[in-house]
Amino acid sequence: MLRWSELAAYRDFLSMLVWRELHLRYRHTLIGAGWSFLNPFLTMLVFSLIVPNLVSRQTLAASTGGVPYAAYVYCGMAPWACFSHALTRCNMSLVDQSALLRNMYFPRLALPLSCVLAALTELLISLAALSVLMAVLRVPPSRNLALLPLFFVPLIVASLGAGLILAMVQVRYRDVFFLMQFGIQLGLLVTPVWFPLSALHGPARWVVALNPMTAVVQGFRWAVFGIDAPSPDVVAISGITTAALLWVGLQYFRARQETVADHV
């Protein structure tokens, strides 16, 4: 049993964990929380410098639905960065708090969950930066914008599911940290952040559709710009892997949480 009701009793502790994560990370830095949108911003700059040189102006405009490429990439980078930050934090969340785990009782789920919530807070800052970028580039938001929160659901589910697995596996196998970093690097390349899914055909399209972030990135772009409406087959495949990820994550975490204090 994961005791969700117990987690509710610890909600003030959970919010302290989220606050502490963000506060300690940014307190002593020059630009503070600015770092949270600088990462997607710089990645966007690199892609905008290179990709428009690879295809003709017409092809690019057709595949991005007329949205400037910079805004197009940044809108996909924002949820991707949230996912990768959530995973990086979750991965070390139990191991970094080993003293606390060995000496205090609290719902273990609070640690990875606080990592996902901290990453979501950074996403909100990134989205504020996106709105500035859109104003500068004179890109009007689409009427679908009200539906944007809907696409937070698969983002949270995928981040938590993968995060729970990474956090618990790290307790046993310290190699996972390196594998995860490698996985995140490759993950960005196979997520339609810097290209439209419509550019892919055949097996490549199905492989990319398996990626839980594919539907999220498409959904974000559809809500913000009104382009790239997620196709039902992609939503179905991506949705199934996302749900499976959370289910496996919860089962695995639940099975291990009671003995984690003995191993961490």
Partner: protein, 263 residues
Amino acid sequence: MSNHPVAIRCEGIGKRFLLNYTDPYHGLRAKLAGMLPGARPNAAPVGLWALRDVSFEIPPGGVFGVVGSNGSGKSILLRILARVTKPTTGRAEVHGAIGSILQLGAMLVPDLTGRENIYQIGTLLRLSRAAIDRHFDEIIDFSGIESQLDSLVRAYSAGMQLRLAFAVFAYLDSDVLLLDEALSVADEEFRIRCIERIRGMAARGKTIVVVSHEMAMMADLCDQILVMDHGRLQAFGDARDIVGKYLDHQFAGTGGPRTGIQP
């Protein structure tokens, strides 16, 4: 407040740790190396019983001490009562909400200020933020470290860390409170106030379990004392009797650190 006739009941508790000497660092390397053809099979993990067949009952309301030499199983007993870890055998029941200070350093966040740590510790011990706000001035008063409240806890001495954590602990509404070795770094003045406070909590029906090596203090503080030896419960009785006997026992030369390695 729990109205159960028993605050803590332990039935045949044992705790066994598996020590894997061939792969203490949890590497994938050792795992994979073990699968190679012709690999030396990994030595079987060695079992270490930190607790064995411990049974006792503690009624609600009162201060209960746990004493014993290093490695006798006191801390692991408290960790089981605090639900941090599960016993390998037997059952531990604790009735009512639990609050514990098992290791000061684990609860405090060195990079946060004293003020911020009060909220950190408080919420970890299930006080709501509103309740901490309500008691904030009393907590500061009790701790006596108002002047250092906005400096980082990493600059605190051990005694100041204890003052901060115990001041929050003193305002907990939990039914069962567990303290492991915490008071040993307190100065005389603060220790007297802690003892008064603990006695006061016991008088209000709370059950407090304290681990300490300081027998003179334990005789004043506790109603009853459990003596642990090599992971087993050796004696359980009136505090003053036990303190007298235990001191004799130690002078007889049977004390000292032990580990209970058994196959």
